[in-house]
């Protein structure tokens, strides 16, 4: 177990290094990093400060270490667009809104997808299963930004049930939550269904029935815990999908989260903020995957004890 976690930890560190190299080089892709790092209107003083912060007069490998050093302290420099704030401050300022939305939509997708996935495996070939498959298929085919716009049109503009945009009470969360979670419901459901089908075919499910266990226990205790393993492995990807998906959804709903921040930063070429957001989301994702692998070991003793 310790060994397994250690290996995963080391792998995560490598991944992190890789991500930092990419983020580092992106700013330097077009030759002079200052062209990218700063908008054209920047004054001389800002020029100086940024050059110094990133050590832009040093050779590139020294620059990289400066980058890593700064990044590990959360130091990404001042924002150009949002005067008077540092990039990292902005990230933390926008984080709660994104976490709220992503959390809500993940909750909704898990609550919807797991029972539907399990039941459509159990009731394979019935109407319920067909409907489930249809939802899964649609879920993977609907562009979420379009769904968001159409939902605003129907439920906010025409019916007036929900506000069209912005952050506020619970009712503000419904439409963006659904638009964001739609895709993950589909992929979660599909995975749960197919892995549950495999599990239901197994000998230990037969044994559980032979013992005389009630059917709900056979499915939800013996089935689900085994069936949860494959969907869990993609959970990290789904969470990060929510994070990046939030760029589109937050734009459409003017939801003041990290995604909106990122898009505004890109449009304003506020590269300090872009770097901060990118690194932040990647770290979050890597950490998330590490966490999931540990959780995975907890669920599956075959991993835990080797």
């Amino acid at each position: 177990m310790q060994r397994y976690i250690l290996i995963r930890l080391i792998q995560s560190v490598f991944t992190l290094i890789g991500v930092s190299i990419i983020v580092f080089s992106l700013a330097r892709l077009s030759g002079n990093p200052l062209d990218v790092l700063l908008p054209d209107e920047a004054d001389d003083e800002t020029f100086e400060r940024i050059s110094e912060l990133w050590g832009l007069n040093d050779p590139w490998y020294i620059q990289y270490f400066t980058f890593v050093k700064n990044a590990s302290r959360g130091e990404f420099g001042p924002s150009f667009k949002w005067q008077g704030r540092t990039a990292m401050e902005l990230v933390f300022l926008h984080l709660p809104a994104t976490l709220q939305l992503a959390g809500f939509s993940i909750l909704v997708s898990v609550v919807l997808a797991v029972p539907i996935g399990v039941m459509s495996a159990v009731k394979k070939g019935t109407l319920l299963d067909t409907v489930g498959k249809l939802i899964a298929l649609l879920g993977q085919s609907l562009p979420s930004f379009w769904l968001a716009i159409v939902m605003i049109w129907i439920f906010a503009v025409k019916l007036g049930w929900f506000p069209t945009s912005g952050r506020g009470g619970f009712d503000h969360m419904i439409l963006p939550g659904i638009a964001l979670g739609w895709f993950s419901v589909a992929s979660f459901m599909r995975l749960t269904r197919s892995s549950m089908l495999n599990v239901l075919d197994s000998e230990y499910i037969k044994l559980a029935r032979i013992k005389g266990l009630p059917e709900w226990k056979v499915i939800w205790k013996h089935g689900l815990k085994n069936a949860a393993i494959p969907p869990l492995t993609v959970f990290g990807a789904i969470v990060v999908g929510q994070m990046t998906g939030s760029v589109t959804i937050e734009t459409v709903f003017a939801w003041p989260g990290i995604g909106l921040l990122a898009l505004q930063a890109v449009n304003a070429r506020d590269y300090q903020v872009i770097q901060a957001v990118t690194m932040f989301i990647s770290v979050l994702f890597i950490g998330m995957n590490l966490l999931i692998d540990i959780l995975y070991a907890y669920i599956d003793p075959r991993v835990r004890f080797t």
């Binding site: 930004f145 716009i149 075919d201």
Partner: protein, 309 residues
């Protein structure tokens, strides 16, 4: 009962189990007959993509301000601008014909997705083959790189790349291929690892075949099914990705009639002129839907083991 997992249709006359008609038809349409998705695919993607310059009723870029915001032909429209058969799907803010734009949009979608798949798929497959076949540190290295790419917030990276290079057709393809290859590499590697265990590989080795030869002659033919299924399923993903990028202004630049761009154009007019955003969205949905159905169908036909791709 681990025997033929093929399960199992009950005879129709059995009384305790009578499938409703609806379910039966939905089931048949989705699974058993490729007709449904083939039709959609042809109507929405292939036909317009191949023939748009000749069959589209209007020039997709031509602005006719007198006709701006005309409603689709089946809606009531307004007093001063009655719907007309000349613009079946209506027109946008600049009076451009939506139908023609959607048709030309198919062309863009198809071109972007095929090019990105070709580039990203080739790169990913090659690396996956190398990684799985040779193992050892090469494998470790490639897999860590794959991890890196899978942990990057893709859309955000795309936005950044486009911010650096400026939006263009080729930037979009480049960005999407970069994002695509890692999934290919991972899937193909897993497949190769399984194939490597098989007897015929050992036999080929014993008989002195070179690695290149084994990979080309023995390993590759065994992953073609996976490749086909993966590619089909990815077309949908790529089209969605391209649309999303275009929607965010980081994909195909204006005034090209990419579907994502069109949805973005219609966003502000959704309350008054819904058709501008809705029509291209339906095109995206139908295309991706039919590609996914085709992928599922192919997967069942070619390789049931791939259920989880």
């Amino acid at each position: 009962m681990a025997t033929e997992g093929n399960v199992l249709e009950l005879p129709k006359e059995s009384s305790w189990y009578s499938p409703s008609k609806l379910k039966h038809y939905i089931g048949v349409a989705i699974k058993d007959y490729p007709v449904l998705w083939l039709t959609i695919l042809f109507v929405v993607l292939i036909f317009p993509a191949l023939t748009a310059p000749w069959t589209a009723p209007h020039d997709p870029l031509k602005q006719e301000l007198s006709k701006r915001l005309t409603a689709p032909v089946w809606s009531t429209g307004s007093e001063d601008k009655p719907p007309s058969w000349s613009n079946i799907f209506g027109t946008d803010k600049q009076g451009r014909d939506i139908l023609s734009r959607v048709m030309h949009g198919s062309r863009i979608s198809l071109m972007v997705s095929l090019s990105a798949l070709a580039i990203g798929g080739t790169l990913g497959t090659t690396l996956g083959l190398v990684s799985g076949y040779f193992g050892g540190w090469v494998d470790h290295l490639i897999m860590r790189i794959v991890d890196v790419f899978l942990s990057l917030p893709l859309i955000l990276m795309a936005l950044v790349i486009v911010a650096v290079f400026g939006p263009s057709f080729w930037t979009a393809i480049g960005v999407i291929s970069v994002l695509l290859w890692s999934r290919y590499a991972r899937q193909i590697r897993a497949e190769v690892l399984a194939i490597k265990q098989m007897d015929f590989i050992a036999r080929a080795r014993v008989s002195g075949a070179s690695n290149t030869r084994i990979i080309i002659k023995h390993v590759f033919p065994n992953i073609t099914n996976t490749l086909i299924v993966l590619a089909t399923l990815q077309v949908g993903t790529v089209i969605l990705l391209e649309a999303t990028l275009s929607f965010l202004g980081a994909g195909i630049p204006r005034p090209n009639p990419a579907w994502g761009v069109m949805v973005a154009d219609g966003r502000d007019h959704i309350a008054s002129a819904w058709w501008i955003a809705v029509m291209p969205g339906i095109a995206i949905m139908l295309t991706v839907l039919s590609m996914n159905m085709m992928g599922d169908w192919l997967r069942d036909k070619l390789d049931p083991k791939l259920r989880q791709v």
